[in-house]
């Protein structure tokens, strides 16, 4: 899927649902991810957007980048608002009102809105089984307010609230595994994606939205401002995150794991860390520690994917 080179991009739909001219930073990976995600969908979508970068940059009065019906929600309740929209449509249909029957509801939020502040609303919405899609655009800290740590910030990363110095090496906890939390709700579709694999991302978003019932897509989006990396390395960093195994791409369909990209050998983690200023201070011990953890997690995931494949074969 990812080896489509030059010609396939010309076959993709030209209409944009997320217009250019917004106020995102130079080289913003999240804006790219949002654009690709909504390019994959038609215009029969209602978006509930939690507070965060994408709300700030795309909706400054009197302008808006959204060609879709769009609601700004609070940090904590994007999933609750989305489930409310879905329930309202259901109720209107039950009362016999003339509403279109192919309306899709998508809630989007950053990593803070997803894994810290909005976690209980998401958990509730996933548990109640509303027919909606939650897309998390994960740039691994609260970038919009000035790079504060979130629970999705990786181990060792420097943020303004987890600085590196004599007594600290930056973030000292591991990244919260949000896709696994979503998968633990036994929802029909969970996937991870990255803007550096555009066709994979678009395919997954399309699949998630067309799945009846709740779906969750976790998109890693590189943030050059917060990650202290060069703006021209956004795509490369996304690809390296996948190729080193620190952010593996996989889907969970009805509890069955499937790896999206077949990597024969993982690249060493240094190639990912060295391009980013937030990991500049890391000693060799800490890098070895991260490498070990990444390998362990990746193998755990591979094991799950393997068991899933066996189960599908047996069922056939």
């Amino acid at each position: 899927m990812e080896k489509y080179a030059v010609y396939v991009p010309r076959l993709v739909k030209k209409r944009e649902n997320f217009a250019p001219g917004h106020r995102a930073c130079i080289g913003c990976g999240e804006a790219l991810a949002v654009r690709l995600a909504f390019k994959a969908l038609d215009n029969n979508v209602i978006v509930a957007n939690a507070t965060g970068c994408m709300e700030i940059v795309a909706s400054q009065i009197p302008n808006s980048s959204w060609h879709l019906p769009w609601i700004h929600t609070l940090f904590e309740n994007a999933a609750a608002v989305a489930s409310g929209i879905e329930a309202a449509y259901k109720a209107m249909r039950r009362k016999g009102m003339d509403v279109p029957n192919n309306v899709k509801v998508v809630a989007i939020g950053g990593d803070g809105a997803t894994s810290d502040i909005g976690l209980q609303a998401i958990s509730g919405a996933l548990e109640r089984g509303h027919d909606f899609t939650y897309i998390c655009f994960d740039n691994e800290a609260y970038m919009n307010t000035g790079i504060q740590r979130s629970s999705a910030t990786p181990f060792g990363a420097v943020t303004t609230t987890s600085p590196a110095g004599k007594k600290s090496f930056g973030q000292f906890t591991w990244k919260k595994n949000m896709p696994e939390i979503a998968a633990a709700h036994n929802i029909p579709y969970v996937a991870t994606a990255c803007h550096s694999y555009p066709f994979d991302l678009m395919e997954k978003v399309k699949k998630a939205v067309n799945t009846p019932g709740p779906a969750y897509v976790h998109v890693l989006s590189v943030c050059p401002t917060g990650w202290r990396s060069a703006t021209d390395t956004v795509i490369r960093l996304g690809r390296l995150a996948v190729e080193t195994g620190i952010f593996p791409l996989y889907e969970v369909e009805n509890g069955q794991y499937k790896m999206s990209i077949d990597l024969p050998k993982l690249k060493p983690i240094q190639s990912y860390l060295k391009g980013q200023g937030r990991f500049r201070h890391l000693s060799d011990d800490l890098i070895a520690q991260i490498q070990e953890r990444v390998k362990l997690e990746y193998e755990k995931l591979l094991g799950k994917a393997k068991n899933g494949n066996k189960r599908t074969k047996r069922n056939r």
């Binding site: 080896k3 489509y4 080179a5 010609y7 396939v8 739909k13 038609d42 215009n43 279109p100 066709f199």
Partner: protein, 243 residues
Amino acid sequence: MVKLTINGRKIQAEEGTTILYAARDNNIFIPTLCENEAVSPYGACRLCLVQIKTARGRERLVTSCIYLVEEGLTVETNTERIRKIRGVLLELLLARCPDSEVIQEMAAKEGITITRFYKRKGNNKCILCANCARTCEEVVGVSAISLANRGVDRELTTPFGDDFSEACIGCGSCAYSCPTGAITLIDRGSKRTIKWPHNRMEFKLQKCSVCGNYWAPEKQIAYIAKTSGTKLSEYVACPDCRD
């Protein structure tokens, strides 16, 4: 701008757009399989059939992916008559491609699960929409595959039905543009296999000199180098490793 009415809604569309795109811009859903913005319209699947009434009062059925918008046009996309015809079309497609999930899903949306017609044997998902052939000719510019023969014998094939097409560069655009999944592309190690309904072809992938990953078919790289007028030596490393 042209003013027209679709399903009772007065809408405006730019001159030269088709009914299908005008409807889609206003969130009126018309089912279709063979439509692709990047290539010229073809009107093969007939699922986007709509009922129109021109400003002079003439009524007829047209495929909305080909018919351009006109001043004073009245379009109905979901009448009893259209639903009946669409149902028969879907039944015929189901009989032709019983294994295609896309068509099954589409039919289920219209409330059709069984077909009255004779089901074709064999795992054939091709509906002869020529999306692949149009893509190959117009987007890639190589014309490696096309539809051949007429009537019931019509099929998608490589030149002379061989398992080898001299012109094919293995880019996989046909597999991407196929709406029903009749064409598959599998990358395994250094080999890429593209399977068309009646033929298959294998390609050697080029290895990146830096990271060692296989990244594109050799023939595609040669074609890109030729059309862009660059040297082949610029393509030894994959896009990730190029500086």
